[in-house]
Subunit: 320 residues, 4 copies
């Protein structure tokens, strides 16, 4: 009644999709029955429920893959990403968007501004992750920000940091071609962790002041530990990239002594509208993040490209 | 011992200078003995006190015109603009920068990045007012912002709002040529209050949602009242422009019913470093805000131009 | 299906009920058809909808009178009191609790701790208004707070300020007996606005520092203007009491020059659980706020007592 | 000129004093020349510098052991505890208060309210640590708080949490007599980590919701890891107690997935005035925290009592 039926036009493969595909689970979320993955989509409205008034068939839309309860303490305090009743598209047991059609509550379906393509629309969800993390980290005008990892999430964090007025943005990665992408999206300095001593280099670039905010998107325990070294006293570290290990050696005494705030991020909340607006501002050519287009039925090819990393791959868009 | 002697190169005339020149006072601050005005300056270091290590003669600098005590409850909590012991350059009894030289505590003197001209440097102080107000108003990525007044302060607020990621920025003024300047600095819509019903127009442009933040820089009681109408429920109004009357009719019941936050702004604090970075980012051609250059000894001409408003005047820079 | 049927046990008369009774409207909310008022209630669960699991018949409960949509931008960001789709019990066209039974969504019905009486339960809603306003005003440990007005809302603000650790709490009213109540609830100083010059007295009591936070609950334009005088530089004014006039003379220039934040408050949000916990902490004998008990069918008597103010009246509880 | 000479009356031994005494260093702070330790003091003013106006000989005072520069970026933004130029009493190379007299900048010397004893005055510094950490953790009315460790710092955190309106406060320790003290200061539940499974017990006591804020004062890596388990999604962990190891196994993935904020605390800032007010409110009988009184020349006895832990020891006060 309050749902919308959407014909999928572009849907990106997320690292979490790959993780499910390989292992069948993410933490406690275990796939027990056949499941359709996918949650980064844009499409066209085909039909709307009776009580839906802000959308009509033919509308070009993006879909926020969360559907929280709207009533629990988390929802009431504006943190609906933590809602224990939340349905998340493509997380078991909710089928996702690697499909021709998806139905979803209209309140989480947004009309696309006319200038945006479906491919750009499918990038709104990953951008919303970066926008949310940058907000949680309270990045503000004039900040020095360092981003660990220049994959799709790292680049979206970069865009979010630029948008919020960060004036120096350092990006660290292991691949020069990804660092070059980072420069295109506004990084003021980049460094390849294979070539330089990152802590030393950051100290030098910041005149010994280190950075106000570090966004950890690499998922590497070593990078997590390094983040503590390169963040200034009183600064903030946003954890964004999933770590492979549940626990590992971490310099928590430095977090205390430097009075750092370490801020976890789980999905995101009320960042879709902002991300749509950033996307349609025309300031970032996000399409450059899409390295591959495949028909939906070649999805296994896509997973393999991501897994093998033989090619330069950032975001793969599938088209049903 | 901890002061710096600066040879003034460019110094702007502020509306408050004009006010002192005409009336001899701003509120409780009354000029009782001859006083040198002026507080928006850039210059060159001529000499430094014994304990100054971060500056040397020849350095090109901008000067933050505040010198707070550093010890009171306001200073300790980061609100040094409210320090009751604060010396403010050009406020009685502290002589200001409409002079060949000024001496000031080194901690509030900043080296200019090499790319900036002295004229741009002299605009850092007014930009810091906008940056401070935008921070107090908590403007954030994706916000809709309206700015009342497109004078120098309004335009600096506009730059600050753009920098913080506001995606829709409406500017209201009475002069089309000022609105055109606003467009050059990033306004997405402008309206001349003489030609349109502002409340109606804002309603229309925002699909009935009104704006998240209004920055009142006009100093007009009518605009202040109008700000309450055009700000959305739960939104914020930043008061920046000095009102001519101490009190006037104000729809405070609407502030309550709409749960608006009305936020006063007095000078600014820790916004100079940020403003220098915004200025040197190259994203805004702030020099366009300077409409007149005059030698220091023609300062009276400058005051008259500002007072009579016969010419298109935004910022006048004086050069000793 | 997700509602609960509650047999009303105690229900308080709110100033807004009186206002509706006298004038038929509050602002845009106009009573056009017969309406049952009342929204400060406690009672016993009689029946629950099929999908309700946390409540059963016989449970003693309090009811939060808001039922927001849970989906709009306000709800999503934790400000559900501003939800435009919100149903509010006893606001037209939603019938209220001056009745034997009310039905309400279970998510906004809370089980009462065993130690609380129904009368205390009926005071949770007014306490939640104070707790919300104190939170919006960011009252914190060690603050000096002044409360304008010692009616039920003022006293609830007082309790909220005490709870948050305010160490000096001044209360202003026109009636000594109400000021005496304020002392019982933790006011450290009280003053009768008829006997003393409030501004002068506050200056004296605070060694010229004035207060960190003023909570305006009196609804008097004069008190609103006075609030600006007695609040310190950089302080906060919370607007809680409805003003009779939409607009009036207000010293907005002082708000700007003193960098005060004026914060509107409309109902409240996610303050019920907190208020229940404060209420059951046993630290405040809130029953002392109840001056009258009446059977429900004597409600007109209650309205008249409140209107005429011949007797010492704070809160009147009705019992069906 | 702006200093005050204080005759020490009571001075407490801090865990950090013991650490210096045993090892000669805390992290990078290494004692290279003979040093007088001690920073938790109260005393009597003997003499004041020429520019001191708020204090006179004979005044009973407490001393905040920080003397920051008042000018750097940290000082300017209200975080003077992070000032790199800060002198800290009793940290090398600044002599401390295990002495008959200390001289200190008057701005950090506070007159004691008449009702307070010197022993209570000497407890203001440790209370300020708790008050600061509780503020950084944003403990608010109605919160559920858990405190790891019931030593002096843990008990001060407890007092701070009570003051800010926490309504459920759980305390964990290894000694029953310390847990009993915690109950006297307002803990609503206590548990001995030797007897119960803490995670399981917290789950049970909170109906599976876990706590809003955990304050880690034990300095134990195991407790740090446990803190992550017992803090609810979206909650906060304040790190207060120094860890013995620089780094150790820590479940950082849970911090991310549960969207927890982990907040370091280093000393404290602008918490002295608040702590003095809490102390003089009479709500907490802090003298119960003092287990031993010794003359200053028996200081070695005091260190040994603390080191050997044969006796029930919380705070030892020395008297010159």
């Amino acid at each position: 009644m309050d749902e919308v039926l959407v014909r999928v036009k572009s849907v990106g493969i997320c690292g979490s999709d790959l993780h499910y595909w390989r292992t069948g689970a993410i933490g406690d979320l275990i796939i027990k029955e056949p499941l359709v993955l996918g949650h980064e989509l844009s499409g066209e409205v085909v039909d709307v429920g009776r009580s839906v008034s802000h959308l009509s068939p033919g509308d070009r839309v993006v879909v926020e893959p969360s559907s929280p309860c709207g009533r629990c303490r988390f929802c009431r305090t504006g943190r609906y990403n933590l809602c224990p009743e939340k349905r998340f598209m493509g997380d078991p047991p909710n089928n996702g968007a690697f499909a021709e059609y998806v139905a979803w509550p209209a309140a989480f379906v947004y009309k696309m501004p006319s200038g945006l393509s479906f491919d750009e629309g499918a990038l709104v969800e990953p951008l919303s992750i970066g926008a949310y993390a940058a907000r949680r980290a309270q990045i503000t005008a004039g900040d020095k920000v360092l981003i660990m990892g220049a994959g799709p999430v790292g680049l979206m964090c970069l865009i979010a940091a630029v948008t919020r007025g960060a004036t120096e943005i350092l990006v660290v990665d292991m691949f020069d071609w990804r660092l070059n992408k980072a420069k295109e999206f506004g990084a003021t300095s980049t460094m390849n962790a294979r070539d330089v001593n990152v802590v030393e280099k950051v100290r030098e670039l910041t005149n010994g002041e280190y950075v106000d905010v570090t966004m950890e998107t690499s998922g590497s325990p070593d990078a997590a530990a390094q983040s503590v070294k390169i963040t200034r006293r009183g600064g903030t570290i946003a954890l964004v990239g999933l770590f492979d290990s549940v626990q590992f050696e971490y310099p928590l005494l430095d977090v205390l002594m430097k009075e750092i705030s370490v801020v976890g991020n789980y999905d995101g909340a009320h960042s879709f509208a902002t991300s749509l607006q950033i996307m349609s501002s025309g300031k970032f050519d996000t399409k450059k993040m899409i390295t591959h287009h495949l028909p939906l039925d070649k999805i296994e090819v896509g997973f393999k490209i991501m897994e093998e990393k033989k090619e330069q791959v950032l975001k793969i868009e599938l088209h049903p």
